[in-house]
């Protein structure tokens, strides 16, 4: 079909050249290049506007964080007094060294626990056909959509009954549950992508199921496992409602997401400190995000579109 159209176009352009002579064709060509330049210029403007809109908040955060006089009023686009004093304050007196440690512990435990549980479960739903399999998948899909506001009330009561309020352990347990459904959903695509023939070859070579899992499936699913882990890291690092509710008054156990509240005063907010702390919080997330970006988005779409 495509060759057909090309032929037709070839024929028609040849005809027009013959009919109207070389000058008209030249004119038309120059008009076409003029139009092309206009389109390119329009695109360039759009790209610049888009980049400005997209990057401004991140830029403004950095600019304020490095400006010792941020929040004093009359701020310019670039810091008037470059300094690391905001970061210094935040990491020492601001208590962010402790919050960072807390967040790192919570995120690490969440990642390890949910990666293990999600991997096992995803192998089950991707590799086996069993009764209730579809029901199980639908349940996992639906559970992802439940709003946290609905879970926070009963889980607050539950964690309180277990006397885990104000502890990091209570928070970790909740985060594992929060990142599980999405983890299973994503890993399932990665497990399914491993050819069954490789597994069968392992069996023929006399491997048991456990051996096959360790030596064949696990190494091949590793990239997917990394992507999923990064996602649960980001969930645990950014989460806000549960940290605020379950940690309540225990300031020494705060995670970074709620530690920011420290800098909001009764009458004035220390914007330099807030932006420096925000920068510290945002950087690990951005680094991880860029690393797994491609895999994450293809996995997201795979989960979303494929079903």
């Amino acid at each position: 079909m495509s060759t057909d159209t090309t032929n037709r176009v070839d024929a028609s352009s040849r005809r027009s050249t013959e009919a109207s002579g070389p000058t008209v064709a030249g004119l038309r060509r120059s008009r076409r290049t003029a139009r092309k330049t206009r389109v390119a210029a329009g695109k360039a403007v759009l790209v610049v506007v888009l980049l400005a809109f997209t990057l401004f908040p991140a830029f403004w955060m950095l600019s304020s964080a490095f400006d010792a006089k941020a929040g004093a009023g009359g701020q310019q686009l670039l810091p008037r007094e470059w300094s690391l004093s905001n970061f210094e304050y935040v990491l020492t007196e601001g208590g962010f060294d402790v919050f960072l440690r807390n967040s790192a512990i919570v995120a690490l435990v969440t990642v390890l626990a949910s990666a293990l549980l999600a991997l096992l479960a995803s192998v089950a739903v991707a590799r086996f056909r069993f009764t209730f399999r579809t029901t199980m998948l639908l349940m996992i899909l639906i559970v992802q959509m439940v709003p946290l506001e609905a879970l926070v009330i009963p889980l607050f009561v539950q964690v309180r009954d277990l006397q885990l309020l104000n502890t990091l352990l209570g928070l970790m347990v909740v985060y594992v549950a929060l990142s599980l459904p999405f983890g299973i959903w994503m890993l399932r695509g990665f497990v399914a992508a491993v050819p069954v023939e490789l597994e069968e070859a392992a069996y023929i070579d006399g491997a048991s199921w456990g051996r096959m899992f360790r030596s064949v499936l696990l190494p091949l699913v590793m990239p997917g496992l990394v992507a999923t882990s990064v996602f649960s890291f980001i969930t645990a690092w950014n989460e806000f409602i549960f940290a605020m509710t379950l940690l309540g008054g225990a300031t020494e156990n705060y995670t970074v997401a709620i530690g920011l509240k420290q800098f909001f005063g009764e009458h004035s907010n220390e914007w330099g400190y807030i932006m420096a702390a925000s920068t510290i919080i945002t950087i690990p997330v951005m680094v991880f995000f860029v690393i797994v970006q491609r895999r994450l988005s293809s996995g997201l779409v795979a989960g979303a579109v494929k079903g």
Binding site: K43, T54, W60, G74, A121, M145, E149, S208, I241, V290
Partner: protein, 322 residues
């Protein structure tokens, strides 16, 4: 169409009974293996997601306050909490418009901007496509909490750059507090949510766009279809499924916007005009200690999201089996 988007899947087209059990004989171990693998995850989900969902419904039928939390005694009042919600004038004048109206605007804005950016990216060369892709990745990766604080700082009444710029341009005489008015409050939330949400839409639709057969678009161009017509007549029908998924997921996310509202000045309940369903539920529960009433609101929010999810699942099931 969907094949261009998904991770290559070995499941498709393969015969249903799989050889994953290894030896041909089906021992008890082989048959129970999927359940053994699922058990830990299911246990966690049952205790921390399903049981709480049952409990939030049970709470919603009680006058559940601090006393009930401490004693653990139930205090049934039937559907009185729901009655109070539906007879509260606040629901109709403030909460529903703030939730539904906001979600409609946010979804429309996110999908429109995301699609426009995807079309722009598809027309760029590899270098600029990578630049734009990295930039929107940064907007996407920005955590909701810090992103919200940055927007608050930009629109800060006393020293925010927005007010200072407007003053310098002579558009306003004195600083305006944009957070006290309900509409400007939600305009800032809208900007925040669209800025954070459009990259997902753009990346997803770009993946779909790059999968649309080039011949089809070229043929249409040869036949004289302009860019506008090519978009509506070829790209949209081809990406129907992708658009459906993106719209439904955005709707689900924008309905349960919480941190972006709660963290704003006055957003945590002190400005009643700024409440949406999620924040209302949280504020009633943890601010007023009316956990039963808050649970009833949360149940309603969950039901709305569940209805949207059912549409989502059916859209996906239409495409292929799970």
């Amino acid at each position: 169409m969907s094949n261009t988007l998904q991770v290559p899947s070995a499941v498709q087209g393969a015969p249903a009974p799989r050889a994953a059990g290894g030896p041909a004989r089906k021992s008890l171990l082989t048959r129970s293996r999927p359940w053994l693998l699922l058990a830990p995850a299911l246990a966690v989900l049952a205790v921390l997601m399903l049981w709480p969902l049952v409990r939030v419904f049970l709470f919603s039928l009680q006058d559940y306050g601090l006393r009930e939390i401490v004693s653990g005694e139930p205090n049934w009042i039937g559907i009185a909490n729901y009655g109070e919600i539906f007879t509260s004038p606040e629901l109709y004048t403030v909460v529903l418009p703030n939730t539904v109206g906001f979600a409609v605007l946010a979804v429309a804005g996110t999908v429109a901007l995301g699609t426009a950016v995807a079309v722009l990216m598809a027309s760029l060369g590899l270098f600029w496509r990578t630049v734009v892709g990295s930039a929107i990745m940064i907007a996407w990766a920005m955590p909701a909490v810090t992103g919200t604080y940055v927007w608050i700082w930009i629109f800060d009444a006393d020293r925010g750059i927005f007010n200072e710029t407007l003053e310098a341009l002579g558009l306003i005489d004195e600083p305006v507090n944009w957070f006290t008015n309900r509409y400007t409050f939600y305009a800032i939330v809208l900007l925040n949510v669209i800025h954070h949400g459009f990259p997902f839409v753009a990346i997803t639709i770009l993946a779909g766009l790059l999968g649309v057969p080039k011949e089809m678009l070229e043929a249409a161009e040869m036949d004289g279809a302009g860019a506008w017509r090519r978009f509506w007549r070829i790209i949209v029908p081809n990406l129907k499924q992708v658009f459906a998924v993106v719209i439904i997921l955005s709707t689900i996310w924008d309905f349960k916007v919480f941190a972006q509202v709660y963290l704003m000045p006055g957003g945590s309940g002190s400005n009643r005009e700024a409440l949406n369903l999620g924040v209302w539920s949280y504020v009633e529960s943890f601010g007023q200690n009316r956990y039963g009433f808050g649970s009833a609101i949360a149940v309603l929010l969950t039901l709305v999201l569940l209805a949207i999810t059912v549409v989502y699942v059916r859209t996906m099931l239409k495409e292929e089996e799970l």
